[in-house]
Amino acid sequence: MNNKLYGNLIFELSKEGRKGYSLPKNNFGSYEIPASMQRAEEAQLPECDEMTVVRHYTNLSNNNFGVDTGFYPLGSWTMKYNPKINEEMAALPKFQCLHPEQPAATTKGALALVSLLERSLCELTGLAHFTFKPYAGAHGELTGLMTIDNYHRSCGDVRKKVIVPDSAHGTNPASAAVCGLEIVEVKSLADGTVDFDDLQRIVAEQGAEIAAMMMTNPNTLGLFETRIPEIAKLIHGCGGLMYYDGANLNPMLGACRPGDMGFDVMHINLHKTFSTPHGGGGPGAGPVGVREGLQEFFPFVSPYYGNFGVMMRAYAYILSLGREHVKEVGPLAVLNANYIKESLKDVYELPIDTICCHEFVFDGLKDKSTGVTTMDVAKRLLDYGYHAPTIYFPLLFHESLMIEPTENESKETLDAFIDVMRRIAEEARTNPDEVKSAPHTTPIGRVDDVLAAKKPITTYRQLKAEAQL
């Protein structure tokens, strides 16, 4: 079968009455299910033989792209290698078969693991306590802001404003809004860092209402915010707390710690910085860490310990690197990003030309005359077997193309990617139509994203209804 063309749904392979199973002889008699608990109509399940099911899912999985199949430079996503030992540890039956409701006396090993992971994270971040309830990064942000809100309330202080840089991850203002807080945007300077003068103005005008400032460092342009100590001093001076968005923690590992920079509360995306698979958007884990004294303000956000399997993988990753080698993560991630940046900046527009951290942002191709956009470059990369970088984020530039290689990749992989990026820049000049109509080699070609946004078809039933029109 030509896998490139495989795109069936399991429902399309269904044949009425076909079965891939047989039930064992019933030794238990039969029981009536009360009418109130019966389905009104039969479940509409696909009916297939086992071979068909196996081929279907194998073919579908071969259409997948992941860190295990190729280079995945998705900025702000930290698609690092997920060591297989993590999977082996998370699959240990004595952990995997735990049930969240079983007696605590029988789960001491799991609780010990959480406690050891907490100790490691405290050492890596410079904070004093962590809660492991949040299920992912944005949930962590919300938990962190609720912690801050609880703290201010306990002081009898009504503070409803959160300062967020204009370059922030979209989740920052979203989390603040969900927490019932108001967002105050602070501008960025031309070099991409927080405009300290603008921040001083905001604090002078609204200081008594500032609950917190949310920052990610390095910021979403991959640039280190050098004025953090002054910023922290300013915010603390008006009674606010500093919140660290841990999405970009990776380049800091082993180099510096949010707690030492003056941050009071932070979340960590365990799935990013501590290597667990999250290509499909999860599962994640967003533990929240706080400075000593703030732990009593953790809100109730879940009865259970988030995604325990992610915590196991993260702890396995920390242990396999060890105290010594975990220090190499950040510097190598930074080296790789700068190597790509310097190798491409003559053909791609680099709006802020400075040393970056783990990622950097191009503003499209340098030669804009061809009409080839960032979207076209991203699509063309798929033809060459690469996952596209993050595009059109951050919003500070019109043609953002954000590349994060992570620390794992070899020089040969980076060189091959650089070659392809240069080739695409060349194609944009010599054969722009080829780039503008890419991808040509994927199972699905250029998607009509306007139609997809205006008329999304997300279920099989919608698809069938559409086909009958």
């Binding site: 059109y392 984020f393 919003l395 019109h398 994203d449 306007v450 946004a453 205006k454």
Partner: protein, 126 residues
Amino acid sequence: MSKVIEGLYYSESHEYVRVEGEYGFIGITDYAQHALGNVVYVDMPEVDDEVTAGEEFGAVESVKAASDLISPVSGTVVEVNEALEDEPELLNKDAFGNWIIKVQLSDPAELDALMDAKAYESHCAE
């Protein structure tokens, strides 16, 4: 090169106001629609809502990004361009021909703080 029209008032965040008597027609500029790319949704206020100069009154979503609409002037919404509900792409076809809201101006002096076509053109070129 994006189109700029004489006689309109422009804001730094790329909205324009076309003034007719006591009313202002507010929309996004050609530069803005070009930067946003294909517009797929326009989030508009309702008639009788108040808008304030410098504050958000809705949003434009494109395939690239969602962008807040910032009102260049204060006043009361007397009409919204309902055609944009079904055909948001009208903004891409003709941004200046398709205003988003019509506002009864409460403080026409606010117009003085906005840019004219020439100033806006150089603002875009920055």
